[in-house]
Symmetry: C2
Subunit: 183 residues, 2 copies
């Protein structure tokens, strides 16, 4: 649904051929979507069949023939419909990586902390990358900002999780066989 919206939204600005669309997406929207090339071609065909776009061949110079897609009136209507539905709706987010948390007590606390530290590092990298993204035009910036906000919240939360976990004894030497502890 969001992929259709994306394609319709781009075609609304100007007509484009598939390759051109994907180039734009890969260049400037990589952080906003993960649309792949074959998926785009497939969706464009589907949308053409549905009458949301028209497809005309064109050849510029001696380059390969291009399938140029142009929005139709029905496509514009569909765009409006999808846009409204997308803005008003809310699809609950799932975090598959969280499943491990349900069983975290199966690990010794020291190791659990270590693993979460690794996750935190990956998260921090992603956050730094998101913050470093150059400014985007129009509403696209909102998506980037959302990601930054989300990642900030994730880091905060992870830190809380780690602080909530049982503390391993400070004098346990990790990685070496430790002598029998008090417990």
């Amino acid at each position: 649904m969001d992929r259709e919206l994306l394609l319709l939204g781009l075609l609304r600005r100007h007509q484009m051929h598939g390759y051109q669309l994907m180039e734009y997406v890969d260049r400037t929207l990589a952080r906003c979507t993960d649309l792949k090339r074959p998926t785009a071609y497939f969706l464009l065909d589907k949308m053409a069949e549905a009458g949301w776009v028209t497809c005309t061949q064109s050849r510029a110079g001696h380059r390969p023939v291009r399938q140029v897609f142009q929005l139709t009136a029905r496509g514009e209507a569909e765009f409006q419909r999808l846009l409204r539905a997308g803005l008003a709706g809310y699809t609950p987010a799932r975090f598959p990586d969280d499943m491990g948390l349900a069983f975290i007590d199966a690990l010794p606390p020291a190791e659990a902390l270590d693993l979460l530290e690794q996750r935190r590092a990956a998260l921090a990298d992603a956050l730094a990358a998101a913050r470093a993204v150059p400014p985007h035009p129009g509403g696209t910036q909102l998506i980037i900002d959302h990601q930054v906000r989300h990642l900030e919240a994730e880091v905060e939360w992870l830190d809380e999780v780690r602080s909530r976990l049982p503390h391993p004894k400070r004098n346990v030497r990790r990685g070496a066989e430790s002598p029998a502890s008090a417990r």
Copy 2:
């Protein structure tokens, strides 16, 4: 991957048959996963083939025959592997509903605000529901808490988005034909 981890983790506690597993998941883990029944049966078969669990038939009273699954040593090893990978890793989250934001300027500001208000309401409902969940045992509570945290961040962010949007003129009467405005 997270579904396998879930099933292995549950079977690690005690052996169970499929129906029993799904009942438990539906009853007490509905907010932590969206595992469906046919998926569970499929995965259990796959895991049995892979040697992670053994499957034995059993009949209690005159009830239908049950396929009881029990964790093997290899299953335990796989559980450990998945658990570590799940805890250390981080899979970037996507928010498909955000696509609409990229094209929000295609709508009159008043309507955009209205749609986001609807989204906010849905979000607030989800947050209230997540907060009302009764306490869960062990690590499962972490997943619930994560959801609460996430939803709180979402609400905050949505409020910021709305405040950033261009303000519609206050004296525009929405829904009625308005007389020519200053612009």
